[in-house]
């Protein structure tokens, strides 16, 4: 015990700058992630901003009752789950495939340029992406439809963003396009940690490119894949308001109306902070439950898990 204390003191003395720098993120987490927790009590209150916590009325579980009986909430929940599961199915494997492909490229400069081009969309805000998407995909004046109409591919513009089923596909694929490059970074890092000896040995044994990917690279990054899958499962109840808002219009509201839109319109727009906080809490708890469940399953399957 005493030895440990001495060790700790020694370390603190030696690395005090590092510990001091650690203070910043720790403070961030405490302030923004934990200090706001007492505010969660508003889910049990009819919270009015001008009256504050002291002046607002306690209503018990009435807010939750109201939400779960609200048809709009159920519609938003259904849409959120559907689109997040689809998003996971479509978006999750793409960065893995892309990382595998990039890893196989031998011309370094081409690989770097490709990587940079693929990352770029990640740095564009959804507002810009939405604006560009509408410019490209408007039914009659969008660039894509104009080109397709002019070369005779279609006689009438495809309603990429103005008909709900087309919108669903476009929405998902734009999501893949925007996120795939960034997602490859982690997998490329994981691939780089796979021992080169394994590749050399397999090549001596006559393994081709596919065999090497299948038997060495993929098993080598399995742990990372599982970890990221668990983290993504935690987001299955979430939704990105910015993304939904910029792609929204009245013709696709059947699908666009997801929990983030519900929270914004009914909560912030309607001044119902208790209601929106309750939905937020519900999302967080379900997300946490999914992460814990997935972690357990992963451990049972012999993986390390997250927690």
């Amino acid at each position: 015990m005493g030895r440990n204390k001495v060790e700790l003191k020694k370390r603190l003395k030696r690395d005090w700058q590092l510990y001091l720098m650690l203070l910043f993120p720790v403070l961030m987490v405490i302030i923004f992630n934990y200090a706001a927790y007492p505010g969660l009590k508003m889910v049990f209150m009819d919270y009015k901003p001008a009256r504050g916590y002291e002046g607002s009325e306690w209503v018990g579980l009435k807010i939750f009752q109201k939400i779960f009986c609200d048809g709009d909430f159920l519609r938003a929940l259904r849409n959120s789950l559907t689109f997040n599961i689809l998003d996971l199915i479509v978006s999750f494997p793409v960065p893995i495939l892309l990382a595998l492909m990039l890893n196989e490229l031998r011309f370094k400069r081409f690989k770097k340029v490709t990587q940079t081009i693929l990352y770029l969309p990640h740095f564009l805000s959804w507002v810009i992406i939405g604006s560009v998407a509408y410019t490209m995909f408007r039914p009659s004046t969008g660039l894509v439809n104009m080109v397709m109409t002019n070369i005779g591919l279609v006689t009438q513009g495809i309603p990429f963003l103005t008909e709900k089923w087309h919108w669903a596909v476009t929405y998902l694929f734009i999501g893949v396009w925007a996120g795939m490059g960034w997602g490859t970074i982690i997998y490329l890092a994981a691939i780089s940690s796979v021992s080169k000896d394994l590749y050399e040995a397999s090549m001596i044994d006559g393994a081709g490119r596919w065999k090497r990917i299948w038997h060495i690279t993929l098993p080598g990054i399995k742990g990372t894949v599982v970890t990221l899958l668990i983290m993504n499962l935690g987001r299955i109840m979430g939704s990105n308001f910015e993304r939904l808002d910029v792609f929204g219009n009245t013709q696709v509201r059947d699908f666009q109306y997801q929990l983030a839109v519900y929270i914004y319109e009914k909560g912030l727009g309607g001044g119902k902070f208790s209601q929106s906080t309750a939905v937020g809490l519900f999302q967080a708890l379900v997300g946490l439950g999914l992460v814990l469940a997935a972690d357990r399953v992963a451990k049972k399957l012999g993986e390390e898990g997250l927690i």
Partner: protein, 566 residues
Amino acid sequence: MRKNKIATLCLIASMVATTLAGCGNTKDPTNEQTGNTAVANTDNVSDITGTKADKTGMDSWKAFDENVTIKIPVYDRGVEGVPTVNDNYWTKWVQENFGDKYNITVKYVPITRTDVMTDYALLAASSELPTILMEYDYPKVAQWADEGYLTTFNMNDFAKVAPTYYNKMDENKQLPYTIMNGETYFALAERPYYNNGYTFQTFVRMDWLKQVGYDHVPQTRAEYIDAMTKMQEAGIAKNPAGGAMITGVGSDQNYGYRTFPQNEEEWAQIGDVNIPALGSKANYKLLKRANEDYNLGFTNPEYYITDEETNKASFINGDIYSYGNYISANMDWLNSFYEQNPNAELSVVPVGIVDEEGGTVPAYRSNNPFGMIIGFSSSATVDELKAGWMYMEWMTQKDTLFTMQWGVEGENYTMDASSGLPVSVGDYSGEYKQGYNNNKDYWCITIETRNAGTVKDMIKATSPKGLPQDFTQNIIDNFYKNEELIKQGYSCLDIIFSEPIEAETEYSGVLQELYKEYRDKLTMCKIEEFDALYTELTQKYMNAGYEKVMKQRLEAYKKGHSTKLQ
């Protein structure tokens, strides 16, 4: 090594300081020193006025012993080319000429024009409500009163501090509107000619009309359809009517489609433009016409993904037939229009057209008989409240108001030698540059329009300047035509409730969003499908809360907690 350590420490300190910067309460220390408690109900006249002498108004004012900070909301409309709303020559001018004199610090709080309720809610949640809260929509301020944002006050106290302002309210018969649930909550700004509506004008392409054989703006629905069709056939415009997505509040005003004289109970249930009246006969007729326009190809087929700015740009670029907006001496979009279309000829749409065959009457929405509705923060101290009233009274003084509205002579305006009236310099861009619409967002606290001479002089002053065409006479004609319509009962004043309608607060946001969705479905469906779809969507709209809204409105009306149909 030592340098590195110092640099590391500085870096860490700045990181931590930045993180914590947003966590403090920014309440002005000068207010804490005064030790005043929040005002619940200010019955004690001497406390609030600070004087027991006979003097009232500015003569009785003394500088505060300790500095008092008042926070005044100002719309940040995101308009290009106007100074920063809370820090410009005019905010400094207010501080120098009013604040410094009475030991008051005047701080302006930017509020977005389109999301007022959220802005105030967030300010309230962070205990940063401005001293004064103001809005044009009565249901919104009623909600504030109901939810504890506002303090009640004694109107006699107000009259002592701000007699000019009070007398103006009295002269304009506004005092009954200052009360909500039996308590005084509001002061009201003046809105001259509130029921005339001449400040909004629609401009149309007269040159296009002439090309298709018209020497006048279409007067009836039949003429309109004919003119639009001919424009399409002549290749002048593909979708001459253009169009943009609707915003919800204030959309699809149906006064022209109503049956006159109006049924008072129906009028009460329709309420105001806060929630569009899907399901009413007038709304049915309006949307039926929108559907017809869409199916005839007059409307831009992408209107529902086109915002208002893009629609305006289409008019400026010469792609669509008409565009309307509020008039002012310097109208950027009209300047741009003539730059883009130097040979174009515009005409102002005349008012007062009766189209029996088309099923419309020349009715229009009258504004409220008041301008800005002003309430006072429930967390304001006695001194802050008094300083707020002083600010309102000072702004109401003729010389203050004139300077705020017109600016500096020789810079923002010149005096016309023949009429002796000010004339704005339309393209002024110097250091005295005024805020949006001649500083309106500052002086709207006392009046809604610029005053100078007679109404004709006012129109002359506010009609667009520096254009190849002069529309002043057309706007004056429209003004007098509207005056006739007022006498005929066609200027429709919406019902105003003196109690909050809870269902409006509960459902307005949802219904506004739902209306956008439904009206676009109704506009774009096939003509033969319209009636069945209208019935189906009306039922859904009712179930989503509109039925409850109408019921509560009718109950309040029957209890006598509202204005009557005039």
